[in-house]
Structure formats: structure tokens, C-alpha cells
């Protein structure tokens, strides 16, 4: 499949019009989204996509300067506001909610002449890691149709893998970009916390959420990140990152000990060895204390912040009352968050988790004093098959290796690393907070 950057070149050279590109992507969607392979990655299409493509073609014809994303079709996770499209977070609660404004990232994409093709399926309110928790049906994994695509940005990752779009936006709170990217065999990039504005993102956990890129290769992720990143006065957590600068030193890759399927660990290890040998980088075994407390730290924070964030879904101004219309996992997080944020439990759950978050953040800062990047698998196991019984804790354990970057507020990316039993496996790289560009450049070597 052609990457976004290759397509830009074709459009610039006049070998492909924007209209042709958008029509082809829509034809791919028509063939396999609800019919054919029934991927069900996309919930709502932009009815004006072809018209918007024609406008850009006219600009090109008249030799008017066009933006860096001119003519590219982009799929957006259904928790990111796109004006006049439905951002229902894959929930009955917001089933027909039409966005009255564009999220900041969408404004930036439109300014660069990117075309929003439609809204992606996801786990309901981003509460999930499988793609099975949508109120509008499961999303299939185009790389392995009988297995889950991962989540919660299931539709975004599946859209890229299935050729439904050139680029996709997801959101990542505990791994929701990197997890489905790993399972679907595409690139998934979660920026440092604060690098990308959250204005217009319907939040899951406000201290952990980041919007990021899902793409065919790392260069495409760089392109999209360049457009969507930047300080925004409308996001109080927004902050500058280090400027883009070529890597001019020999990198040291840190390898901590983590639990995962031995075949996955072996695949990752071989890839690291190969890349480091080729680039003359060093590896170093490191210890990150409390690295096994990720899930226990993440979920209490997620539950409490989600409970707080869902108080607006009371059915008055829009949608339905969430407790009366949501699925089980969303209800679990609301109930859990409501319980443990009561005064009688002060200091026992949420505060404890925040203390652990601070500790883990310090451990990562310490680790990055002796290494430049850290490499681990994106996901500790292969994606399960649809219909397979899986316990709640086993489901949560999918996040074991991805929550760490959210907790520590650092940049992280999943890059395809190979396959096991014909199922894609992602290699995860993590970099110090603010070193997003260094991470992206280094990640190219792992492709």
C-alpha cells in the first residue's frame, strides 16, 4: 500500500488528483467496511469528502499554494470533534451527537488541506483495549480477521491497515494507539503528554490522554505529528517539546526486564540486536523499579478521572444519561470511580495511585540518565480470537507495557516488528518527555 508521503508526491506530480484519491479510499471502504471483509472500522462518513477534494484540485489547477496534507484522506477516532460529523464515542449515549466545532487538531489538518473522510469505530468512550466494546459492533483486524484489532483506537488502526485512509488519528490514555497499531501491523505514535492539544477530545482520563498518529510508516507519523503538535492556549496542559534536530550521537538503547510471551520477547530482542549492529548503537540492560505496578497505578486514576469526566453526560444538553445507556465496561469505570473518590476512602486509592505515578515517573527519568531510548514489546501477548473467554484482569493486562508511557507522560511509539503465527507484533520505543522528534527519527531505523 502506498504511504501518505508517496501519495503527496503523486498528487504534486499530477499523477493522481485529490478527487481520484478520495474516491479510491471511499471505494475501499464501500468494499470492505460493512460488506466483504466487514471490518466495521468506520461509523460515519463525511458526505462532503469528494466535494472538498475537488476544491483542492481546483486550487492545484490554478497553481494556488496548497497545504502539506493536500488531498490526503484522514480517518478520525469518534471521540475527536469534527464539525458537522458525529462524534459518538461508539456509545448509545452520544449516538447522534453532531459536533458544533472542530477540535484543534482537526482545525490544523483542515488548514493543511487534509480531508476528513469519516469517524472511526472504537471501544466505547475509549474504555477498552480490544475493539469489542463498541455499541455499534466489533471492529475486525484486517491483518488477522478472526482476532481482535486491539483498542481503543480499533477503527483508526484497522482503517490504516485495510487501506481505508492515508492517515488516522487516535487517542491514547493507557495504550489505545499503540495496542491496536501493534495488533494490526501499523505504526502508532503517542506523543509526550502536552505535545498535542486535547481541545476537542472527549476525555477518558484527562491527566493521561493524548491524541496521536496511526500510519503506514514512521515518516507518515512524522508528517501528521508536525501538523497536529504545538502549544494551544485552550489546553491547559499543553507545552513545548524539544525542537526537531537530527540525531548526532551514538544512541544507547535501554532494555528493562518485562513479562511477556517469550516468542514476542525473542522477536523484539532479535530486532534490537539487528538495528543496533547496523547503526552501531549500544544496548544496556536496565532496571526500572516498580515497572510491574503499571496497571495498579493506571486504573484507579483512569476510573476516578473518567467518573469525573462523564458527569456532563446527564442527557440534558445532548445525548442520553450515560448510566442508562452505556455498556458494562464504561459502567464499571463510572461505578469504580464514584466509589473510590468518596471522602471515606481518601488516601486509599486515588491518592495512592498518584503517589505511585510520581514514583514511576521518577524511575523513568532516572533510567533516561543512562540511556537514550527504552525498548520493550508494545503488547505482552498476541491478540485473542473473537469469542475467546477472557477475564477482566487478563483484559486489563494487555495494557501492562503501554500504560507506563502514559503514567510517566513520555513519548512512545509502536512499530511493526514481524509476525508470530501470522499475527503482527509491535516493538515499542519510549523516549524522555519532550524528545518526540528524536524518538521518531530513531524509530525509522526499526522499520
Amino acid at each position: 500500500m502506498v504511504t501518505a508521503i508517496e501519495k503527496i508526491k503523486l498528487i504534486k506530480e499530477g499523477k493522481l488528483t485529490c478527487e481520484q484519491n478520495i474516491k479510491q479510499l471511499l471505494a475501499n471502504i464501500e468494499k470492505d467496511n460493512q460488506k466483504g471483509k466487514k471490518i466495521n472500522a468506520i461509523l460515519h462518513l463525511n458526505p462532503r469528502a469528494v466535494e472538498e477534494a475537488r476544491v483542492i484540485d481546483e486550487k492545484i489547477k490554478k497553481k494556488v499554494k496548497v497545504g502539506k496534507l493536500a488531498g490526503l484522506g484522514i480517518i478520525v477516532k469518534s471521540n475527536i470533534c469534527v464539525k458537522n460529523l458525529i462524534a459518538n464515542c461508539a456509545s448509545k449515549t452520544l449516538e447522534n451527537y453532531k459536533c458544533p466545532y472542530d477540535a484543534r487538531v482537526i482545525e490544523k489538518i483542515k488548514q493543511e488541506d487534509g480531508i476528513i473522510l469519516g469517524m472511526a469505530n472504537m471501544d466505547e468512550f475509549a474504555a477498552g483495549a480490544s475493539g469489542e466494546n463498541s455499541a455499534f459492533g466489533i471492529t475486525k483486524n484486517p491483518a488477522s480477521l478472526e482476532r481482535i484489532p486491539g483498542g481503543s483506537s480499533s477503527g483508526s488502526a484497522a482503517s490504516v491497515a485495510a487501506g481505508f485512509c492515508d492517515l488516522a488519528l487516535g487517542s491514547d490514555t493507557g495504550g489505545s494507539i499503540r495496542n491496536p497499531a501493534s495488533h494490526c501491523g501499523v505504526v502508532g505514535f503517542k506523543p509526550s503528554y502536552g505535545a498535542v492539544s486535547r481541545y476537542g477530545l472527549i476525555d477518558l482520563a484527562m491527566s493521561l490522554d493524548q491524541i496521536g498518529a496511526i500510519t503506514r510508516d514512521v515518516k507518515d507519523a512524522e508528517l501528521l505529528f508536525e501538523i497536529i503538535s504545538g502549544v494551544d492556549e485552550k489546553d491547559a496542559a499543553s507545552q513545548e517539546i524539544k525542537p526537531k534536530k537530527p540525531i548526532q550521537k551514538k544512541l544507547i538503547i535501554g532494555i528493562p526486564k518485562v513479562g511477556a510471551n517469550p516468542k514476542i520477547l525473542n522477536l523484539i530482542s532479535k530486532k534490537v540486536e539487528e538495528v543496533c549492529k547496523k547503526n552501531k548503537w549500544d544496548t544496556k540492560n536496565i532496571e526500572i523499579k516498580n515497572i510491574d505496578l503499571g496497571i495498579q497505578t493506571y486504573y484507579p486514576i483512569n476510573y476516578v478521572e473518567f467518573f469525573s469526566g462523564t458527569r456532563k453526560f446527564d442527557g440534558r444538553r445532548f445525548g442520553l444519561k450515560i448510566e442508562d445507556s452505556c455498556g458494562k465496561e464504561v459502567l464499571r469505570r463510572i461505578i469504580g470511580g464514584s466509589e473510590i473518590s468518596q471522602e471515606e476512602f481518601a488516601g486509599r486509592y486515588y491518592k495512592k495511585a498518584l503517589d505511585a505515578k510520581k514514583l514511576l515517573t521518577e524511575e523513568f527519568e532516572k533510567a533516561f540518565k543512562s540511556v537514550d531510548l527504552i525498548v520493550i514489546p508494545a503488547v505482552p501477548r498476541l491478540p485473542h480470537k473473537f469469542g475467546e473467554k477472557i477475564s477482566l484482569i487478563d483484559m486489563y493486562n494487555y495494557d501492562t507495557l503501554t500504560v507506563l508511557a502514559n503514567i510517566a507522560e513520555i513519548a512512545a511509539i509502536s512499530v511493526p516488528c514481524g509476525k508470530i503465527q501470522d499475527v503482527p507484533v509491535g516493538l515499542q520505543l519510549m523516549a524522555p518527555r519532550g524528545s518526540d522528534w528524536m524518538l521518531l527519527e530513531a524509530s525509522e531505523k526499526f522499520e
Binding site: 458544533p100 505496578l293 445532548f318 458494562k328 461505578i335 486509599r348 486509592y349
Partner: protein, 80 residues
Amino acid sequence: MAISDEEKAQIRLETRKLLDEFSKALASVKGEEASVIRKDYSRKEKSGKGKEPDNDFKEIMLANAPNKTEDSILAEKKSW
């Protein structure tokens, strides 16, 4: 399909058990007293009229509302 009261009770029990397990795992983590540290900061209020919403913002917001009049959303007190 709506979640039944029995299922809600079951979810509550399971969730509580899970969170207790998580809390136990974090028992050895020591933290400081909760406090908010703020640097001295004063917000600069911008002058002028500010950005106007799009013409259709109100139209879309009203279209999303379950109960409304011509130009306002109706929400009966305690009805939810």
C-alpha cells in the same frame, strides 16, 4: 440492551474487589501529604470582543438537545 440491577450489583462487587487488590499492591508506595504547589501566576485577561462562534454553532447545539425551545435548552430540575 440495558444493564440489569443484578448485573450492576455484580459489577460493583467485582470492581471493588479489583480496586482493593490494586490498592494492596501499592501499599508499599510512600507519598507526601496532598498539597498543591503553584508558582506565582496571574492570568492575563485579553481585551476586546473575543472570538465569535460560527453562525451555525447555536443551531447544531440546539439540534443535539433533547428538549428545547426556539433558542434555549430545557432541563427540568431534578428530572435526571
